[in-house]
């Protein structure tokens, strides 16, 4: 009876193990790399400033890689404000079209998506694809002078092929 239980356990583990081993051979593991920060530059208190995801000099740029035909979920952890070391914060907003996906990294194949909610896409290639992100900052009229910053995190999750 005890031997029977062990055999059942072993076979179950074998069943789980095989698809994983095959999946690992189909392409590189998911990877994401930050390439450029989102830079609003110099702002005036009381004057909102938007950086478009098409603004190559100031947008955020990250590149992602997975296997061809792999379906992945892209989700951002977006801050609601930027803060400065001395204290004080300014609101930061992301619109429904402030994120873009591009397989080539160029401008001709960009797909806009809402960075505020997880977004799913099936990769069409095994090389690097690109994510571009813009946003809007709204410093209040009496915002203290200084440099503000916040952290934006992009997470990739595999949804299978």
């Amino acid at each position: 009876m005890r031997l029977g239980s062990l055999l059942t356990l072993s076979i179950t583990m074998l069943t789980i193990a095989v698809p994983g081993a095959l999946s690992a051979q189909q392409g590189p593991p998911l990877a994401v790399q930050g390439q450029q920060d989102l830079s609003f530059g110099e702002l005036l208190g009381g004057l909102a400033t938007r950086v478009s995801p098409n603004d190559a000099g100031r947008n955020a740029q990250l590149r992602i890689r997975g296997a061809r035909d792999q379906t992945i979920e892209i989700s951002f952890d977006l801050p609601a404000e930027m803060s400065r070391p001395e204290g004080g914060s300014i609101p930061l907003l992301f619109g429904a079209a402030d994120a873009q996906f591009s397989a080539s990294g160029g401008t001709g194949d960009r797909i806009p998506f809402d960075p505020n909610t997880p977004w799913t896409i099936t990769l069409t290639q095994q090389g690097w694809s690109w994510i571009f992100l813009g946003g809007t900052v709204q410093p209040p009229p009496q915002a203290p002078l200084g440099t503000y910053s916040a952290t934006i995190t992009l997470t990739l999750s595999d949804l299978g092929s």
């Binding site: 994983g20 593991p29 990877a31 920060d37 300014i90 930061l92 915002a143």
Partner: protein
């Protein structure tokens, strides 16, 4: 029992890659969003434009580069931001009794510089120009020409010179 050991060993061997693969099925990276809030523009008139004594019938001109007599403004703002500069037109100076003295800007009657003691360049005050602040400061100089008539009443004349400054966003 030997058979059981082999099965377990095989299972363990196949399971390891699967576990490694499962750990590779996601990734995350972070970047920063950055911004610098800069000061609002402040413009102050530091020195008046002084023609001194003028003689009826003889025009008198003060150049923007004549820092001893030219008018001077100081602009304070943020960092190395670019600002637009232009003057409201002024056509005459007025005396207390109502007499007027013709005044005109020339095409190079305005100047700009990073120090209060020297104009680094000139521009047409009515056409305006865009210049960049130097560590938050820029000086603007202004001259012009008065043309008293032959019968110009004696007296003291004055007018208001207004400089308009705005961030260009560049």
């Amino acid at each position: 029992m030997k058979k059981l050991t082999m099965i377990l060993a095989l299972t363990a061997f196949l399971a390891i890659p699967a576990m490694v693969s499962a750990q590779g099925q996601g990734d995350a990276a972070s970047i920063s969003a950055t911004a610098t809030v800069i000061a609002q523009l402040e413009v102050s008139g530091e020195e008046d434009l002084r023609f001194g004594d003028v003689i009826p019938g003889i025009a008198s001109t003060i150049a923007a580069t004549d820092v001893g007599n030219a008018g001077r403004f100081q602009i304070q703002g943020g960092g190395n931001q670019e600002v637009s500069l232009s003057f409201d037109n002024l056509t005459e100076l007025a005396a207390t009794g109502g007499a007027t003295l013709p005044f005109a800007f020339g095409s190079s009657s305005a100047g700009f510089g990073v120090s209060s003691g020297e104009a680094d360049g000139t521009f047409d005050p009515l056409a305006g120009t865009d210049q960049r602040l130097d560590n938050g400061v820029l000086y603007v100089f202004v001259g012009g020409t008065v043309t008293p008539t032959a019968g110009q009443p004696a007296g003291s004349y004055e007018g208001q010179i207004t400089l308009n400054v705005a961030y260009t966003g560049n």
